[in-house]
Symmetry: C2
Subunit: 384 residues, 2 copies
C-alpha cells in the first residue's frame, strides 16, 4: 500500500454565497487546490456532499463537477455519509491512491445550503437521522443534540455555561481566519445570553448553516517529491459507524464510532493521543465538541467541558482544537466540513495559519461526525 | 495491489415492494450475500444508491444499513453516480480490498422507487441530468433519451422497429429469471404497438421503475481460497465521465465515457472485445443498448441495432446481452442496477443461470450508465 500525501489545498470562504452556483463553488475550490499543488491533470475527483439532491435539485455531482473543471474522461463520483461526507470522500480518494488505482486525485467537499431550491433545510438535515424512528417523529437535528446535551448536563452535573469556552475559543480563532463565516470574538456572557434554540441549546452552541467548498489534491510519494508544496502525509484514515438512532445506542453519551475510528487511527499512525499536537473536531454543537474530545481520548468521560475550561483547547493549550474557527465560527456547510478540517491542518503544518499559527505541529487529527454520531471518520496527518 | 474476488451474491426479486421498507430490502440482499459466501463478519459496507434522499427522505444509508444488518463499528458509506451508483460503489469496494485497507466487504446496490415519500419520481430522476441546463428547462429523463433516439434514427437511417429485438430478447431472458420484474415474453409486434411515451420512445423501449436490492461480498485471494463458492475475479474496473448535459458533448450519439471505461477495462483485463463471452449492458432505454454496444466495441457506430437483428445478442448469439432480462425485463431500481448486473454475471459463471445458462463463459462484462451517458462504469469479471 502506497503512502498518500496532500500536495495541494483550496477553499472558498464559508459564506451565504447568493451569487455563486453549486458548480462554481466546487470548481473554485478544485481549481484553487490544483493551482496550489501546481498540477495540471487529475485522474479522478471524489465529491463529498450530503444535500445537493434535497437542496439544489442536483445529483450526479461527480460528473457535473469533473466536467465543469475541465476533465472529461476522468473518474468521478459523489460520496455521502451525512455531515461526515467530506471525510468519507477523503477516505475513498486515499484508498484509490494507496491501492495504486490512481496517481493524482482531487477530493472536494461541497455544500450549498442557503437558497434551497427544494426541501426546507431543517427537514433536509433530518435525513441524517433515522427517518422512521427519529425524523418522522418530528425530532430535528438540533433537538437530537439538545436531548444529548440535557442528558449530559444531568448525568455529569455540568452547567450550560461550562460549555461557553468551546464557542469563545472557536470565535477567537475564527477572527483570524479570512475564510471563516464569523470573525467576531464573543464572550462567555454572549454565549449564555444568546437566544434559546432548543433547550438547553442556545444560538451560540450551534454552528451555522452555510455554503462552502474545500478541496485537497492527493498523490503518492514519487509524485509528491516532484512538486513544490511540502507534502502532508495522511498517516491514518479510519471510519466507523454506530446506530443511526440515538435510542439504539448502548450509551448515548459515548461516541462509540468516534472512539473506534480514533483507536484505529492511532494504531495506523503508531502514536498515542498525547502525541497529537492539535485536533480539528466536529463542533456542530458544543455538546459534540465535548463528546468528541472524550471519544478521542483527550478527556475522561464527562470531562470534555472541564478540559476546555482548563485552557487546554486554546491555541497555546495542551490540545488546541478548531484552530481556524471550527464548525462554530468557520461555518458548517455539512458535506464540505470534513475537507475544511484537513485543509486547515495542512495550513497549520505548512505554516500558513496566520494569527492562529501553532509552533511546528507534527501530528494533527481531524474527526468528522455524521448524524448524531452514527458515522465518524478520523484522519491523522503528519507534518512534512 | 491485491486481486479482488466476488465470493458471495444476494438479490431481492425486483418488484414493487409495497410491504418492505428500504432498510429491510437492503438487509435481505446483504444477508443473502453473506449467507451465500458463508462469511459471518464484514469489514465494511458500501452502498450504491441514487434517490433515497429524494424518494425515501433518508440519507446516511451507509450507517443505517450497516447497523441494521448487525455490524456496528464497521465502515460504511453511500456512493452516488446517478444510475451508475451501484457500479461506482462496487469500484469503491474493489479499491478498499485491492489496497489492503479491508479484507471482506459487502457492496450493496439499492433503490426503493415506488411509494415515494418525497419528490415525484420523474422529477427525482431528472436530478441525474444537468439541473440548470436540462432538468430546469423541463426535459425529463425519457425526453433526453427520446432526443437521442430520434437523432440516431435520422443519422443512421434506422427505423423504430429495428430496436424491437432489444426488448424481445430482454423479455425472453427475463421469463426464465425468478428475480425479474417482467416474466412475460413479448413480440416485435407488441413492441411497435406499445403506447407512445415520448416520441419515438414507446413503453416497451423503456425499463420499469422498481424497487430492488442486490449485494456482493468481495475479498482477496487468501480469504477466497478458504471459502466454499467458486470465486469470480474482478479482472477490471473502470469509471469515466462525460458532460452531464447532452448538448455539451462533441457527438451526442457516441458514449465517450463508455468507450473510455471499456478501453481501460480491456487493458486491465488484458483482453479484446472479441474475447468477451457476454455483456450485461445498461438498456434503460433501447437506444442506450445500441449506444453501449457501439461504445464497447461490439458494433460499428450506428450498427448497434443491426447487430441485434443479426441474432448476435441472444443467449446463443455471438455476444449475448442482458442474459437475465437486463434493465428492461429484470427491472431498473436505479442505484441497484449495477450490482444486479454483476450478480447475474456471477450466476452465469457459477452455472446458476437456469434456463438462460451460457456454456462455460470465461469473461463477462458489465456496463452501468449514469445519466444519459455522463458516468459510465465498466467491470470485467473472469470465471473461476
Amino acid at each position: 500500500m502506497r503512502e498518500v500525501y496532500i500536495v495541494g489545498i483550496g477553499q472558498v470562504p464559508v459564506r451565504e454565497h447568493w451569487d455563486t452556483s453549486l458548480r462554481h463553488l466546487g470548481a473554485q475550490a478544485v481549481l484553487a487546490a490544483m493551482a496550489d499543488a501546481e498540477v495540471e491533470h487529475l485522474d479522478a475527483l471524489y465529491v463529498g456532499n450530503m444535500l445537493s439532491g434535497a437542496l439544489n435539485q442536483q445529483e450526479h455531482l461527480g460528473a457535473l463537477l469533473a466536467d465543469f473543471v475541465g476533465y472529461r474522461g476522468i473518474e468521478a463520483m459523489k460520496i455521502e455519509a451525512a455531515c461526515a461526507s467530506g471525510a468519507a470522500a477523503l477516505r475513498v480518494g486515499y484508498s484509490m491512491v494507496a491501492s495504486g488505482l490512481s496517481d493524482i486525485v482531487a477530493v472536494l467537499g461541497i455544500e450549498k445550503m442557503t437558497e434551497p431550491k427544494g426541501r426546507e433545510t431543517t427537514a433536509a438535515l433530518a435525513m441524517a437521522a433515522d427517518g422512521d424512528y427519529e425524523a418522522d417523529q418530528g425530532v430535528s437535528f438540533v433537538a437530537l443534540n439538545a436531548l444529548l446535551m440535557r442528558r449530559y448536563m444531568h448525568q455529569y452535573q455540568v452547567s450550560h455555561e461550562e460549555f461557553a469556552e468551546f464557542a469563545v475559543v472557536a470565535h477567537e480563532n475564527g477572527a483570524n481566519n479570512p475564510n471563516a463565516m464569523f470573525r467576531r470574538p464573543i464572550t462567555a456572557n454572549d454565549f449564555v445570553r444568546s437566544p434559546q434554540v432548543c433547550s438547553p441549546i442556545r444560538l451560540l452552541d450551534a454552528s451555522p448553516i452555510a455554503d462552502g467548498a474545500a478541496a485537497v489534491i492527493l498523490t503518492h510519494k514519487d509524485v509528491a517529491k516532484s512538486l513544490t508544496r511540502p507534502p502532508v502525509c495522511i498517516a491514518a484514515s479510519a471510519l466507523a459507524i454506530d446506530s443511526l438512532a440515538i435510542h439504539d445506542r448502548r450509551d448515548p453519551l459515548f461516541l462509540a464510532a468516534g472512539a473506534k475510528s480514533a483507536h484505529d487511527a492511532y494504531q495506523q499512525a503508531g502514536i498515542t493521543p498525547s502525541e497529537v499536537d492539535f485536533f480539528e473536531l466536529h463542533d456542530a454543537f458544543s455538546i459534540m465538541a465535548a463528546l468528541s474530545l472524550e471519544a478521542a481520548g483527550f478527556a475522561e468521560r464527562g470531562g470534555g467541558a472541564h478540559l476546555a475550561n482548563e485552557g487546554a483547547i486554546r491555541i497555546d493549550g495542551r490540545i488546541p482544537i478548531c484552530t481556524m474557527g471550527g464548525l462554530k465560527a468557520r461555518g458548517h456547510p455539512v458535506g464540505a466540513t470534513g475537507i475544511y478540517q484537513v485543509v486547515e491542518i495542512a495550513q497549520q503544518m505548512r505554516g500558513e495559519a496566520g494569527g492562529n499559527q501553532l509552533t511546528s505541529p507534527r501530528w494533527g487529527m481531524a474527526q468528522n461526525i455524521g448524524g448524531s454520531g452514527a458515522s465518524i471518520v478520523t484522519h491523522i496527518l503528519r507534518a512534512p
